[in-house]
């Protein structure tokens, strides 16, 4: 009962905001050209849903995001493991990676266009570049922070290097890798939007850019809402995945 009361307070507040916005827009206190009323935005979203205009760009953005993220995760885990296990690899790679990490991924777009042209490959490469860091750091941290007792166990059991990697190191690093992968996915979505805007690739990012250029603000807001929902959904999706994969540990990290 108490919980219901709390929830209703939050819902009422959100509803009040929307109603206020609607009234201000209807009465022309705020420009419909910049702030279309919630009803117009929802109507546009509904139209896209019904007429099917929403699915193609949504799919394109999701694919782009997913491929870039998968590539980033793979590269991040491999590099993280290499640096975590080999002193030499760390010495060779660390300064280079330290230099590249703060580079905004969007800044490599012009160079990526020179190499890959205006193609899907370009967008995936840029997304992977930008999204690799959290997984890389997570995986590095996970592989480095193996508890000494576990190392002792693996020695006592006379596990081979490979066995100890699979049985001890990977499970130990998994929570950190997944936490990194979650952040990476959020970055991948952002970069999918950016690359679509910059390289005119189909997707939600391009849709909102074109909506702005045609001054269709309800469409622009509908796109922003869709992206927000998408961001929310993928974050919660990966949290669920984390819970499943880490069930043996009890609560997620």
């Amino acid at each position: 009962m108490k919980r219901l009361a709390r929830l209703s307070g939050a819902v009422l507040f959100a509803a009040a905001l929307l109603v206020l916005w609607q009234l201000l827009a209807d009465r022309q206190f705020i420009s419909q050209a910049f702030f279309p009323s919630p009803s117009r935005t929802l109507a546009e979203l509904w139209r896209q849903l019904v007429q099917g205009d929403l699915w193609r760009p949504l799919e394109a953005t999701a694919y782009r995001m997913f491929y870039g993220w998968a590539l980033a995760s793979l590269a991040g885990v491999v590099l993280g493991a290499a640096i975590g296990f080999s002193r030499a690899a760390r010495d060779y790679l660390e300064p280079l990676l330290e230099f590249m990490r703060p580079l905004p991924a969007s800044a490599v777009i012009p160079a990526a266009i020179l190499f890959f042209g205006l193609s899907n490959a370009m967008t995936v490469a840029v997304i992977a570049f930008g999204a690799v860091w959290p997984v890389l750091l997570g995986s590095l941290h996970g592989f480095v922070s193996i508890e000494p007792q576990l190392a002792d166990v693996s020695a006592a059991l006379r596990l081979s290097r490979l066995q100890s990697f699979v049985k001890i190191a990977v499970p130990n690093a998994l929570p950190d890798i997944l936490a990194g992968a979650r952040v990476s996915l959020a970055i991948a979505l952002i970069l999918a939007v950016v690359t679509e805007m910059q390289a005119s690739q189909t997707g939600l990012g391009q849709n909102i850019l074109l909506a702005q250029r045609s001054f269709r603000s309800p469409e622009l807001y509908a796109g922003v809402v869709t992206l927000g929902v998408m961001g929310f959904a993928i974050n919660h999706g990966i949290v669920l995945l984390e819970r499943r994969l880490l069930r043996w540990r009890g609560a997620p990290a």
């Binding site: 307070g9 939050a10 010495d91 805007m197 927000g228």
Partner: protein, 252 residues
């Protein structure tokens, strides 16, 4: 010493292969340019001041957006952290905005502010506010309740409570969020410039690419890397270790 040599090996080897490959005609110069040309372009841009001016514009926009985000994030975060009822009511509405990628708001801020500093700072502020807000809420909640009781008995107003009790007590943790936000601010500022704002370093790179000057483009990319690296080193020195790529603010 061995570490430094090893660390320098790969970049040095890369530059060497790049330069010789380009001179041997193996790498097309209009795509790859070559390190010697890039160094020259960078030196030229630094000497004639164009790169420094662009850097100043980018940094100015990043810091303006960061400042707005810091002020708003700390204020709102303190209110939400102090009052659970307000947090319960307003929190979900704010939370609903968080998954929106800041870059999706670029077209909107453009319509609203036109080109230039304000538009860019607006997008930066939206991106930067989240780590600051989240960390502030957590930090304020973690304040010793007795301190707040003292504030109550002293009948301090909200502003005075914020300044005299809350900020000093929570600052240590808020700084972590601020640090994450500073790194984000530079990244977002450059992104806005590359995608639409004719301003700063990002725009300089796009123009260099469009006017077929790859050496200048790579030079600015290199400069941007140095800038981010320098900023990171500075922050690490001033504020201590690095907490994961995006810190605790984004990884609750």
């Amino acid at each position: 010493m061995k570490r430094i040599l090893r660390g320098a090996l790969l970049p040095a080897l890369g530059f060497f292969l790049w330069e010789t490959g380009s001179r041997a005609g193996l790498l097309p110069i209009d795509t790859f340019s070559r390190p010697s040309d890039i160094a020259q372009a960078l030196a030229g841009g630094l000497v004639d001041g164009t790169i420094l001016l662009a850097t100043w514009q980018t940094v100015q926009a990043a810091l303006s957006g960061f400042a707005v985000a810091a002020a708003a994030g700390i204020l709102v975060g303190a209110i939400l952290g102090l009052s659970p009822p307000i947090e319960r009511t307003v929190g979900p509405s704010i939370e609903a905005l968080r998954p929106i990628p800041a870059v999706a708001l670029m077209p909107l801020t453009l319509l609203f502010f036109g080109f230039g500093l304000r538009m860019e700072a607006g997008v930066v502020a939206f991106a930067c506010i989240w780590p600051i807000l989240l960390v502030t809420v957590a930090a304020v909640r973690g304040i010793e309740p007795r301190l707040l009781e003292v504030a109550q008995t002293l009948r301090l107003g909200f502003a005075a409570r914020l300044r005299k009790i809350i900020l000093p007590a929570a600052l240590g943790r808020i700084v972590v969020g601020l640090r994450v936000a500073v790194s984000i601010s530079l990244i977002v500022a450059v992104t806005v410039e590359i995608v639409m704002n004719p301003y700063g370093l990002g725009y300089g790179m796009i123009i260099a690419q469009q006017s077929l000057k790859p050496d200048l483009m790579y030079a600015q990319l290199l400069w941007l890397g140095l800038l981010g690296w320098g900023l990171n080193a500075l922050l690490t020195r001033a504020l201590g270790g690095w907490h994961g790529a995006f810190g605790p603010g984004v990884q609750p």
